[in-house]
C-alpha cells in the first residue's frame, strides 16, 4: 500500500480543494489520478466506518456528522429588509465525505428540461430563472461515470420519462420494500408509471465494498459497511492511494489568499487548535457546499475585491434554491416493517414536467414511498397523526401498532431562483472561531408552494388507492431550514449575471474554481447530489485540460 502523502503548507501543490464531500471527493480522486498533487482541506474530522453507530441521540441530535449549531450558529430572515434572528437554518455534513456520508442516496439524473426550461416556458414573474450554459448531453457521460464509479443501483429503461443514457446501471436495483409494493400497485391503479428507485447504495458487493445490509439506520447516518456510495467510501480511498492526495481533516478554511495580481495563492485555515496556516497551491477549488462556498468568498473580501471574492456580478450567495416538497403519511393494516433497509425503493416521475398552462404554476417533481424515521423520532411526534394520543396507554398502543405499518409519501420538486433568496454573512452573530455566521434569507416563490401542494395531493391519492386505513399530511409552509443548497454561485456565460463559467472557473479569478451545489442554475426536481457529482467529474476533466494546456497558472 502506498504510504499516505503529507505536504508542507509551504509546498505549492497543484490544487487545494476546500471540502471533501460529494464534489470535493470526486475532484480529489480525479485530479490526483490525473497526476496532480492535491491537498483537500476538510473542516470536519476524519471519521471511519467504525466511528458510525445507530445511536440516534449521538448521530442526529448531537450532530456527530454535521455542522453544530453551538459552534456555528446561523441566522434566518424571510426577506432582506428584515433583521435576521438566530436559529438553526442549515444542516450539512461536517466530516470527511461531507453530506454524502448521511444522505438518503436518491440519485436521480436531471432531465433535458432542467437545463433549458427558461427557454421553453419563457420568463417566470418574480424569478431569475435562466438556462444553463451546458445541456443534458454535455453531462450525460458524467452521469454514467457517477453510476459506474461511485456506485448507483437501478434499472435502466424502467421509467418512460428517463432521459437518454449511454449505459445501463452497473447494478440491479435494491430489493423492493413493502411500501414500494403498495406504492407501485396504487400508482399503477392511478395510471402512473412507478419504477425502481435509482439509489447510490450498492445492491451487490463492488470495488471492495459491501452490499447494503438493510440495517435501517440509513438517512442521517453513516454506513458502517461502506455500502452507501459516499465520497468517503468510494472516492477518497482511491485519491489517497495515488500517493499524491492528502486529506487534511479539522482544517477550517476562512480565507482565500491572493497575490497582488489578484491570483489565488492558497487557502488560509484554522487547524484543530485554532492555529492559522496558509496552504499554498497553484489553483484553488472550492467545494464547500452551497452555503459555505459563498460564505468563504464573502469572508475573503479584500481591497481588491471589497464585495467579496469573485463577486463582480454581485450574485455570490444569491439565487438560492432549496427544492420544494411535502410529506403525507398513511397507516396500513399489513405489517410492512419498512424500518428495515434503505429509505426508498419506488419512485415516479410522471409529474417531472408539468404544463404551466394547464396547472397554473411553473414547476415539476417526483414522488417516492419511504419510511425514514428512527424509533425515537417516530414516537416523539414525527410519525404520529395530529390527533394521535401523546402519552398513556393509547399512545403506547398507537406506536406499537403504527411503527411497522406507516408509510410516508414524499414529494420533491423545483424551486424557482430569486435573487433575494440567499446565503450571506451575518453582521452580528459570530461562530466559535470569531467568524461571521451564515445568514439564510428565504421566501419561497408562490409557484413553489403551489407545486408542493399539488404534488402532495397526489401523495394522498396514492395512499388512498393503496388502501391506507388512516392518512394525513404535513401542511406546506414557507421554508426556513436549508438542506439542499443550490444556485448560490451560479454557472453562466455572462460575467455580469453569473459567478462561474461552464468550466467552473470564476469569471474574476483565473485560478479559482467553484464546484458543488452552488454551481447550479436551476434546482432540478429535488434530488441534487447526482448532478453535483456529475458536475464534479466534468469539472475535473475541464480543469485537467486547462492545466495541461498551461492555462491556469500562466
Amino acid at each position: 500500500m502506498t504510504p499516505r502523502v503529507q505536504y508542507q503548507t509551504s509546498d505549492e501543490v497543484d490544487f487545494v480543494i476546500i471540502g471533501s464531500g460529494a464534489a470535493g471527493g470526486i475532484l480529489a480522486r480525479e485530479l490526483s489520478t490525473n497526476g496532480f498533487r492535491v491537498v483537500v482541506l476538510e473542516q470536519g474530522p476524519y471519521l471511519r466506518e467504525k466511528d458510525f453507530s445507530h445511536d440516534e441521540l449521538k448521530i442526529l441530535a448531537e450532530d456527530f456528522l454535521t455542522n453544530h449549531p453551538k459552534l456555528q450558529p446561523n441566522t434566518f430572515r424571510k426577506t432582506p429588509d428584515e433583521k435576521a434572528k438566530q436559529q438553526r437554518a442549515v444542516v450539512y455534513g461536517r466530516a470527511v465525505g461531507g453530506t454524502s456520508n448521511h444522505f438518503t442516496a436518491n440519485f436521480w439524473r436531471f432531465h433535458e428540461i432542467d437545463f433549458i426550461e427558461r427557454g421553453k416556458v419563457g420568463p417566470v414573474p418574480g424569478s431569475t430563472l435562466v438556462d444553463w450554459p451546458i445541456t443534458y448531453a454535455d453531462l450525460e457521460p458524467y452521469y454514467t461515470k457517477v453510476e459506474w464509479e461511485v456506485g448507483v443501483s437501478g434499472l435502466a429503461g424502467a421509467s418512460p420519462f428517463d432521459p437518454p443514457r449511454s449505459k445501463p446501471y452497473p447494478m440491479p436495483p435494491l430489493p423492493v420494500k413493502s411500501n414500494g409494493v403498495l406504492f407501485e400497485k396504487a400508482a399503477r391503479k392511478l395510471g402512473l408509471n412507478p419504477f425502481p428507485a435509482p439509489m447510490a447504495i450498492l445492491s451487490q458487493p463492488r470495488a471492495g465494498r459491501s452490499a447494503c445490509m438493510n440495517c435501517g439506520f440509513c438517512l442521517g447516518f453513516g454506513c458502517e459497511v461502506g455500502a452507501k456510495s459516499s465520497s468517503l467510501a468510494s472516492m477518497i480511498p482511491i485519491a489517497e492511494k495515488t500517493g499524491r492526495c492528502e486529506i487534511r481533516p479539522n482544517s477550517y478554511v476562512h480565507k482565500i489568499e491572493l497575490d497582488s495580481r489578484g491570483r489565488a495563492v492558497g487557502a488560509v485555515y484554522f487547524d484543530e487548535k485554532k492555529n492559522v496556516h496558509l496552504q499554498k497551491a497553484k489553483a484553488v477549488i472550492v467545494s464547500a457546499n452551497g452555503a459555505e462556498t459563498p460564505r468563504l468568498l464573502l469572508l475573503s473580501a479584500s481591497k481588491q475585491f471589497p464585495n467579496g471574492l469573485a463577486n463582480s456580478s454581485g450574485l455570490v450567495g444569491k439565487n438560492l434554491m432549496l427544492n420544494s416538497g411535502g410529506i403525507s403519511l398513511g397507516v396500513f393494516d399489513e405489517q410492512l416493517n419498512d424500518y428495515k433497509g434503505f429509505a426508498v425503493s419506488r419512485i415516479l416521475h410522471d409529474f417531472y414536467e408539468l404544463d404551466p398552462q394547464k396547472v397554473g404554476f411553473y414547476g415539476g417533481g417526483g414522488l417516492d414511498a419511504r419510511f425514514d424515521m428512527t424509533p425515537i423520532n417516530f414516537a416523539a411526534g414525527g410519525g404520529l397523526a395530529p390527533d394521535a394520543p401523546r402519552w398513556g396507554k393509547k399512545f403506547k398502543d398507537t406506536i406499537a401498532h403504527n411503527f411497522t405499518r406507516t408509510v410516508e409519501i414524499f414529494s420533491h420538486g423545483t424551486s424557482l431562483p430569486k435573487e433575494d433568496n440567499s446565503f450571506s454573512i451575518d453582521p452580528d452573530v459570530k461562530d466559535a472561531w470569531g467568524l461571521p455566521a451564515l445568514r439564510l434569507t428565504y421566501k419561497d416563490h408562490p409557484d413553489d408552494i403551489k407545486l408542493a401542494k399539488w404534488l402532495n395531493e397526489y401523495g394522498l391519492q396514492i395512499l388512498d388507492a393503496a388502501g391506507a386505513k388512516q392518512k394525513w399530511t404535513y401542511p406546506i409552509e414557507e421554508q426556513q431550514f436549508a438542506v439542499h443548497l443550490l444556485g448560490t454561485c451560479r454557472m453562466g456565460s455572462d460575467p455580469k449575471t453569473s459567478v462561474i463559467n461552464a468550466d467552473h472557473r470564476t469569471h474574476d479569478v483565473k485560478n479559482l474554481f467553484l464546484c458543488d451545489g452552488s454551481s447550479f442554475v436551476t434546482s432540478g426536481r429535488g434530488q441534487p447530489t447526482m448532478t453535483i457529482e456529475a458536475l464534479a467529474f466534468r469539472a475535473a476533466d475541464r480543469i485537467t485540460d486547462l492545466a495541461k494546456r498551461g492555462e491556469i497558472s500562466a
Binding site: S178, F217, P475
Partner: protein, 227 residues
C-alpha cells in the same frame, strides 16, 4: 392560541417537522434541529447490564421514584413492558448529567411543582408516586395542557428549560424507551422498547422485510402484469 395549537407546541411533533419538512427533507433527520439533545455519556452500559439497581448520579432516591412513576404513566406497563422495565429513569438520570444538563433545574422544580399539584388536587397525598393511577393521570393531563407559546428558539430546543416540564419529561421518556439498546445510554433495557413497537433487535436484515414484499414478482414493465 387555541388549546389544540398549544398541544402541538412540542418541538417534537408535527408542527416542527412541518416547517422543516418542506425542505424536501426527512422527518428522521430533523432531530438535527434540536441541539439540546446532545450526547449522553457512554459509560452506562455496566449499569444496564448489572442485575443490581444502579446508583443514581443526579436524582435522590425520592426524586427517582417520582420520575419513574411519571414516566410509567407516559408509557405504562401492561401486558407488555413500559418505561419502568426499560429503565427509563436511569436513562434520564444519566441524561441530566450529560446531554440534558441544562434541564436539571426543570426536573428539580418540576418534581416539586408536581407534588404541590398532587397535594392541592388530592388532599392527604403528598407524592406523585403515592397517588392512584387515575389520580396520576389527572395530574399529567393538567400538566400536558399547560399553555406556553411556541417560540422559534423553544421549538429548536426540546429538553431545554424553555419548554414545559411535561414536554421535556415526555421526550426523555420516549428516548429512554426507544434508544438503540446497544448504545450504552442506560435506556431501552433488554431492548424491551423495540419489542413493543415491533422492531426486530438486529442491525442486519434480508428481504422480504414485510407482508407485501413477500412473494412479490418484482417490477414489470407496464402491461406485463396483465395476463
Amino acid at each position: 392560541m387555541s388549546e389544540t395549537e398549544c398541544k402541538t407546541s412540542s418541538p417534537f411533533d408535527r408542527r416542527a417537522f412541518l416547517s422543516l419538512s418542506a425542505a424536501g427533507f426527512s422527518a428522521a433527520w430533523l432531530t438535527a434541529q434540536w441541539p439540546s439533545m446532545v450526547s449522553a455519556a457512554t459509560y452506562g452500559h455496566a449499569a444496564v447490564a448489572s442485575p443490581e439497581p444502579a446508583k443514581f448520579e443526579f436524582f435522590t432516591p425520592q426524586e427517582a421514584a417520582e420520575v419513574e412513576a411519571m414516566a410509567s404513566r407516559i408509557i405504562p406497563s401492561d401486558e407488555t413492558p413500559g418505561a419502568k422495565e426499560a429503565g427509563v429513569v436511569y436513562f434520564i438520570d444519566r441524561a441530566l448529567v450529560t446531554f440534558a444538563v441544562d434541564s436539571q433545574k426543570d426536573y428539580r422544580e418540576g418534581i416539586a411543582d408536581v407534588q404541590s399539584l398532587v397535594a392541592e388536587k388530592f388532599p392527604g397525598v403528598k407524592k406523585f408516586s403515592a397517588a392512584t393511577p387515575e389520580q396520576q393521570d389527572t395530574i399529567l393531563e393538567a400538566l400536558s395542557n399547560s399553555k406556553q407559546k411556541m417560540t422559534a428558539s423553544r421549538r429548536n430546543r426540546p429538553g431545554s428549560n424553555s419548554q414545559p416540564f411535561f414536554e421535556t419529561l415526555r421526550y426523555h421518556t420516549i428516548a429512554g424507551f426507544l434508544i438503540d439498546p446497544e448504545s450504552d445510554r442506560r435506556g431501552n433495557r433488554d431492548g424491551v422498547g423495540w419489542k413493543v413497537i415491533g422492531r426486530d433487535p438486529g442491525h442486519m436484515f434480508q428481504p422480504p422485510f414485510g407482508d407485501l414484499d413477500k412473494n412479490y414478482p418484482g417490477w414489470q414493465p407496464v402491461g406485463a402484469e396483465k395476463k
